[in-house]
């Protein structure tokens, strides 16, 4: 069972966290102006890379705060966590 470092609480057991899918997919400014296809991309389409992935996580059984993380989907390792108001880290 992995430890996940909540930006507010520090390392905690992974069972305290829940997954929130791809990060940096903002709610569109004006949904009404989007084509059906553009809206469908917001609602349904997400990346599914092997390797580094920017994800949303929620410390749901802890401080209940959302945060972002860069995680490797092949090794499951968290490479870093950052707050929602931090910019997306530049990864090599």
């Amino acid at each position: 069972m992995q430890l996940i470092a909540c930006p507010w609480c520090g390392p905690r057991e992974e069972v305290e966290f829940s997954y929130g899918g791809q990060a940096h997919v903002p709610y569109p400014d004006s949904p009404a102006e989007l084509s059906d296809e553009e809206w469908a991309h917001y609602v349904f389409f997400r990346d599914n890379p092997k390797g580094r992935f920017a994800e949303r996580w929620n410390h749901s059984a802890g401080c209940r705060r959302w945060f972002n993380a860069i995680r490797d989907t092949a090794t499951y390792r968290f490479e870093r966590v950052y707050r929602l108001d931090d910019p997306k880290p530049v990864t090599p």
Partner: protein
Amino acid sequence: MTSPFRTPEGGRIDRSATVEFTFDGQVLRGHPGDTLASALLANGRHQVATSVKFGRPRGIAAAWAEDPGGLVQIEEPFPEPMLLATTVELYDGLAASGLPGQGRLADVPDSARYDAVHSHVDVLVVGAGPAGLAAALTASRSGARVALVDEQSEAGGALLGTDDELDGAPAVDWVAAAVAELAATPDVLHLQRTTAFGLYDDGFVLALERRTDHLGAAAPKHVSRQRVWRIRARSVVVATGAHERPVVFADNDRPGTMLAGAARTFLHRYGVLPGREAVVFTTNDSAYDAALDLFRAGVRVQAVVDARPEGSPQRRAECEGAGIRVLSGAVVTGTQGVERVTHALVAPFLDGEVGAGSAIACDLLLVSGGWNPAVHLFSQARGRLRYDATLGAFLPGEELDGVAVAGSAAGVPDLAGCLADGQRVARAALGVPAVPSAADDRLPTAPEPVVPTAPLVLWRVPDPSGAEGSTSFVDLQRDATVADIARAVGAGLRSIEHVKRYTTIGTAHDQGKTSGVLTSGIVAELLGVPVQDTGTTTFRPPYTPVAFAALAGRDRGRLFDPERVTALHEWHVAAGAVFEDVGQWKRPRHYPRPGEDMEAAVLRECAAARTGVGILDGSTLGKIDVQGPDAAVLLDRLYTNLMSSLKVGSVRYGVMCGVDGMVIDDGTVLRLAEDRFLVLTTTGGAAKVLDWMEEWIQTEWPDLRVHCTSVTEQWCTFPVVGPRSRDVVGAVFPGVDVSNEAFPFMTWRDTTLDGVPVRLARISFSGELAYEVYVNPWYAVAVWQRLLDAGRPHGITPYGTETMHVLRAEKGYPIIGQDTDGTVTPHDLGMAWAVSKKKPDFVGKRSFARPENHNPLRKHLVGLLPVDRQTVLPEGSQIVEYRTDGRLPAPPVPMLGHVTSSYRSAELARPFALALVKGGRERIGETVHVPVDGTLVPVEVTGSVLVDPEGARRDG
């Protein structure tokens, strides 16, 4: 009475006490400190069981968990299947029997308790042999918090099975001193009889502690039988030793055939001679120690058969000095005997060719094919293994963060090396200097190791019998042979994982502890590829079997999942309520009177609510307090309808959708103040809706000045429902004008009752005149009782969730998650009226414009009335077209939808249902069919509101 094969002295058993036990019905004796296996051997008994497929006699072939032969079932004191005689500690009254490869589950409940413990340490050392003890001592002396776990009954590891010396005294004396030092150190947790069976991410280790198994009937009842330690360690030192590996030859499974090191353990640790006349077959130097030790203990060692062309010149000289014959360049090709080996067939062996052999009489055949480091935990942590062609073994092949392997688990061959390695690895784990800096941190001096003669890697001896290895057993537990591997390879299998599954090798109780590497070697040989390329099968937890009861711990029965009860629970129990689980809540489903079944009780309760007055404990309803200057903005964005226009004092029904436009919850909203709302959710949706609000606030709208908190448990809620509800509520709360004019539908009012704040709300989930009463749980029972007292003249009837469901279904009110399934929009539910057209946006709005949302064949929520006025349609039933012939069309039968809710209605005097039906609203008035138990039941499609469609009753 002395057991015939017990040595006159020595061993770590308590000879002053006798233990009586029963095996296969025979009463036998042993001593405290014995295992079932050592006690059986002391009584001359090698055969324990018969094999799973061929019924061949099988005996004790090793001294611990790697034994593939001695499977037993404990019958007394508590039945437990599939244990190894070698790992069952002997106790008085133990009754066991041999198992033919399969056990029997107990048919009585297990009365023992199981538990779990958490521990956090700097260093966890697994294994209390020389390397593990050295590591634990080094770590504890540095001030680290240390845990040391070991699967045996006492510390010492391999030292318990030898007569090795340290500092010129028996090595076990040093073990005792080390254990005493650790015990005196406060920050050390030392657990014996504790098997680390799984190594997971970030230093997380699961270990099973067997606390009372060795005590039998004397086990104290207040102590849990076993418990799982959940240890989180900054560093894990794997010092789990090595398993000796046999060599495969024909009929290598006869009882009396045993690993050489195991015989040493039985001798030194248990004071048992595993035989009188031994043949020792080896490919390496280590078995010579067994030969010499047994010889000194009085066993006639008929021959040491060494497969190496030159054997070991040095060890040969030792043996010949003692008068033991050594046959170099020779192998054991087979055995004779039935229930016990009587002869070893020995033949010259040169360049892989077996010469003409002869039989040597023996009752004990010791075998050593080398040693496999116990890399299981390292491999579980996804550590890569490397094949060492000299040792014929897989060793840790990389450094892992936080996991280090020490001692013979890392391939270190000798005692001095293991001690030094344990210390080195502990220092590295702690990040302290590699050179001993303190005088008091010294390790004992071991005898200078003798440089061994290189071993021969030999997986199998060619079968000279012509049987092609069909009795050359690789996995004794699975009765799988060299011939089976050859068949697998012949069938084209190349991957070791495929060979494993084809032959079942390594899938039994021992998980291939002796057979795994042998299989890799034999497969490599048959394919003509290096063993490194074949690799091993994946090591997975658990290292040794763990009972489900231990994993479950206390999380069983009522403690499996938390039970939530309302403040009225005791009242419900006393009233004879039948409960149902709603999420974690225990809710009264109905209150049967004597002689009533559920159907009768529900019809009575429904009639009371529709014609008089009923009362429900609705306290489980989700309640969220939403506060802040932007509270109305938040709700406008999350609900499909407008909430900001709601007046303080009023209530509005609302629907929430996901971004895909599908309904996720519904409920009512009370505006408490300009900046404060009480959001009511479904019982099951409470946590989900709070999470949903938090997610949007935190991730999308952090600028909103709004906060949400659950107040579900801060308010008990009692809907008082029915035409007489006004009389009841008016009587209990005389300060409130309950008239329709002063207190209209969808409003709320605060009042007090004897100084206790109470909130009343005109909300109806039944279509009837109704008042919801909200009160602090501390006063819930009192308020509930006053309502009952006031309602008595009107026949007030407590009702449960089943009646609540019938009443709401009669009104066509959907239950989200029952009448919907994540593909249903508000429009599908006939709730276009609850979707704001004014708001520029809200979550889900854009999806309503998708073409699919305007498909006329979308499923709509409609009512169904079985034409026969009798059938209660099973929920989940499919709906098909009406057929005049009453028969299903040929498959695939076109499905129109399914039944989502179905009840018997007192009001309608017939059963009815809600259903999702394709284009359902256009089909109102049509007849369709529902297949029930093989017949087609005609049903009429109706609107979803079957009772009081004009809504005349809500105001009383």
